[in-house]
Symmetry: C2
Subunit: 699 residues, 2 copies
Amino acid sequence: MKTHRLDALLNPQSIAVIGASNNGARIGGMPLAHLTKFGYQGAIYPINPKYESVFGLPCWPTIEDLPQAPDLVVLAIGATDVLPMLRRCVAKGVKAAIVYAAGFAEEGPQGAALQQELEEYVDGTDLVVAGPNAMGFANLNTQAHSNFASVFNAVPMQEGKGTVSLLTQSGNVCAAVYAIARKLGVDFSHFINTGNEACVDFSQYLEYMAQDDATQVVMGYIEELRDGPRFIAAAQEFSLRDKLLMLYKAGETDKGSEAVRSHTSALAGDKAVYQTAFQQLNIIQCNDFVQMAHLANLAKYRHLHAGKRIAIITISGALGAILADKFIGQGLDVPTLPESLQATLRAGIPDYGMVTNPVDVTGNVVNDPGFVRTAMEALAQSDAIDTIIIYAPGYMLDRMANDLCQVSGQLKKLFVAIDTGAAQSREQLRAGGVPVFEDIGIAVNALSPFLLWQERRKANRWLQLRQQALPQRVALPSQLDELSTKQLFNQLGIGMGVERCATSAELASQIAEDIGYPVVLKVLSPDIAHKTEAGGVRLNLQNAQQVRQAFEEIQRCAKAYAPQALINGVLVSRMEKGLVELIIGATRDPVFGMTLIVGLGGVLTEIYKDVSHRLLPVDADMAHDMLKELKAYPLLQGYRGKAHADIKAACQAIEAFSQAVLALQDQVHEGEINPLLIKEQGQGVCMLDALVIRSSDER
Amino acid sequence: MKTHRLDALLNPQSIAVIGASNNGARIGGMPLAHLTKFGYQGAIYPINPKYESVFGLPCWPTIEDLPQAPDLVVLAIGATDVLPMLRRCVAKGVKAAIVYAAGFAEEGPQGAALQQELEEYVDGTDLVVAGPNAMGFANLNTQAHSNFASVFNAVPMQEGKGTVSLLTQSGNVCAAVYAIARKLGVDFSHFINTGNEACVDFSQYLEYMAQDDATQVVMGYIEELRDGPRFIAAAQEFSLRDKLLMLYKAGETDKGSEAVRSHTSALAGDKAVYQTAFQQLNIIQCNDFVQMAHLANLAKYRHLHAGKRIAIITISGALGAILADKFIGQGLDVPTLPESLQATLRAGIPDYGMVTNPVDVTGNVVNDPGFVRTAMEALAQSDAIDTIIIYAPGYMLDRMANDLCQVSGQLKKLFVAIDTGAAQSREQLRAGGVPVFEDIGIAVNALSPFLLWQERRKANRWLQLRQQALPQRVALPSQLDELSTKQLFNQLGIGMGVERCATSAELASQIAEDIGYPVVLKVLSPDIAHKTEAGGVRLNLQNAQQVRQAFEEIQRCAKAYAPQALINGVLVSRMEKGLVELIIGATRDPVFGMTLIVGLGGVLTEIYKDVSHRLLPVDADMAHDMLKELKAYPLLQGYRGKAHADIKAACQAIEAFSQAVLALQDQVHEGEINPLLIKEQGQGVCMLDALVIRSSDER
């Protein structure tokens, strides 16, 4: 790894503590206690004019007295003293500082002003400043402690080096997850909590972790992201370097989001957008700290072939069914085994066992170790299965342990054991490449996302798409009414109906005669967004007289509704017939930028929240995935004897919309086709209405 | 407890083992090994002509040789030998027998015939027969073992008596759950797996457990129930006796149900109906064995006041928010604390802490034990809070432990501690009445259903309703067309529109003139269920001419569609206007009997499965709960500026429908009002169509 800006912060060669204390329970004492206790090899400089020595180290009166400029300075001093001290650090040539003090942006307008001042000052320097309102860091491979986390006293310190980094937006969460994961045997590289992120935000730490050779896995906790594009780039780097990134996002329920909001100044952000971003970036979204620790342990086995098609081997039909049920519920597949594989298994399994999947080998099989080995090999060699999960009582597992390790090692496929009993061979298995779970629920919660992660990294379509060049910029017309918006999208590849603008009743009826009845009339104005509300829509007009009358009424209503509006005329459109109406929209998410939403039109979609989200770009294949995510998807597939909808055309339209939005770049704040009519198979799609809100018009 | 029929099976005073073996690893040896090893005090009779003695006990050649008739005989012999041996047991005067052998109903038609024969024989005797295909039982309070479960060798035996019983439909699940729960310190009374349930089914064991003084908690596992009414009665008994019943039901996903089905001969049954039955009976439905073990431990604290309104106390805003999020996600409430309580808390909590709920006491508070005590007392005395959950790092919990135990004990309100660190005071707290969890996920999964169980048992409306007398029987008319069905329901209290039967086009137009346009015409025939398909419906008729024409068309279409159908005429109805259409249906569930389903009309309800289920009877309050369960409920509440629907009338109609179905008793197989039109507030409801399928007509 090349030298990184955050090196001085996360891998310091020398550390000074301003506000040093001899009391290991105080925030000025704890980092020194840790540094000395855990054997940090770099230079340590306690600074406090009150003491001669602290924790057996010479104590320096001021920063200016130090014999060298330390890489990292810990500021264990009050909020109002911070900025003056940072100036002195800069003068001394310090590279990085951590600010413990609370009393900044999290505490009202006065604190926010203080933080603003700090940010502005640091911006003009080369100093890297972490926090404020942070618990500090630890590099567990060098034992560089710059934290006041008492958890390092409460939990036994790891003996070797670790490859798992903790990166959280809360100090207490950082400490709690550390304690939980240490109990489960996780060894760490970095312990990081970001505090208020005044100068260094979550994404920058993440970027460092992506590049840091000591880090293979990151367990993260976030409340809000400040820099979406940088976060995306860092997550892509994780993918490229084959590292595993998992995140716990606070605020699963609406009330939970509120609770998060009330304790930070942060907006929790759109849960659904975060979720889709994580999925597109192949970040494992966690909902439990124990699950995270197990995932960190599982990451050690990520070189073995694994994926979502699992075989379940048990000695009990009931337990096999229970496991199948749970794994299927988490998105894995339990496919019926191929005939040839079934035949191999049947050779050693009694008639009352099962060979389809789950496989019930019955209790007898354990007496036939030769068969167990043959069965393992057959499963490992099968192309139809990615992962083999064995649930056996302890003593049976013990008898299989050697074979399991050997077969897995030779054929490089992931075997996983679940033992709720008391197998003696657990450590042998783990060391031999076979993870062992002692609890069904945890096995399901950790294995499922791990296997889906393995599955997705085989081919991450979106990360590939993002490598491609953006479409050429298209200028937004100066005036945008319904017709010009549709024409814009139409030029970029989305179907529209036969429709023209009429500026007189006579012309409207001529157009109608021309395009054929029934027709629809709609007021055409860049200033009237809610046409129905304005009385500006007339449906199902059957003849010239009705059209003329409708034209006059629309003009009258529109003028009454919005006297100042520019009215370009009335749009005369042929009534289109189709099967299903979709909403396709793009909105600018404050964190992740332009995001796409697709759903069925109508009030029930809103009530059932049956929509699919994606970050852009989206191609037709991804569009199809979006449609398939909709619970209402069957309506497109010929539901209850109705015709099939033109799904292909719908997907192409969604891709075209994605490209259009990208081509419009920063000119557009929001875009929507609502509804897009999907016709019968082979008959394409048709925009019934379309809207673009300029960035400058943002409501 | 009075003597129960299953006493000889579950609490035997003497046990014989037919097919006794000296080998403790064989099924004929294992029960004897357990009985001798664990110190059963009753008489033990090994039976096998091959041996003189077995496990140090005299071995008897035949059952006839025994000096007394044993309470319980274990049959460790092959399937085809079972029935002859049972005859000999009966002749000897044996009270109960357990059949280990597989090869009965679970194994094809031949096995099914063998089981049938067994059932028929036993039916004519007083013998109680458990299994076949069972792993056998254990009474852990008397150490009466009649099982071949090796788990009793693998897991340390409990030292004292237990009050938790295991009751499962799978031997391997029974053993697995036993092992898991023992590790978590659960002490058991009974270990029961029901096997094929040829003669004694799950509900009968459950009934025993309800009456058994030694059992306070049942951890159950079911694949299918055979006797719904008996199950309901037993579950009611649990409620009456203040015992906790929790069940794991196999088959959460559709594919999981399939896997269950393929390993038993059982139908998994309607998941939704099981779920509603459990809820109405206040049975905790579990989805994890570890969760079950923790619930068994929690049951010890059920005498303390507890419920769904929780206060969360932490030293971290982030952890408080995470916990709130998780508990809210599981259906609990985290209400904002009353002002006075906030004021009490504020007195000891620094400004940067939080007093609303979650309460962030901050790390400082631990230095002020007097305040901690005051705060605990204030929370325990508040009527606004049912349960207090404290999440603190180990050392803080240790300092609070004494106060927690004292306050909880004095004020009889449940306090719960969560410590993911390493508190020393865990056992002190548990013994002092304060449960401690070491994992957040498990705390949420076990506590949430426990608190909801406490909440529901305060007032179980349905169990009360079931005490009331059933409505008087109403005879079903001999002929049921739409009109007579509606009239039947109308007499029982459900609103209908103005509509009459016309037998000629002229009469139809007269009726229409009379009731006012627009009208609807529908064919009226007890033999045509699908009127639209038959071309038998005409909507929105505006004048006499249209009505006459529609009458003739309907007659023609109906005769062409079903030439043999009895056509009573054509129903002329005024077109009704309303806000929302509901489906209200009752169907006979094979296990639980008549069940009610309520949902919105239309194809999207089907797609989104947005329906609510209940076992009958249902009153208007419960009907309101059902409506509120619908995701589409907002449509009834004046969605987006529309009018409010007459929810009260809808609820009354649902109650009336429930009563009607009960009054019709066994005459009806299925009944439906589809749709029931809900009008604006104050304007009532109106059946637009109604259907009853007689039991004899069952399709």
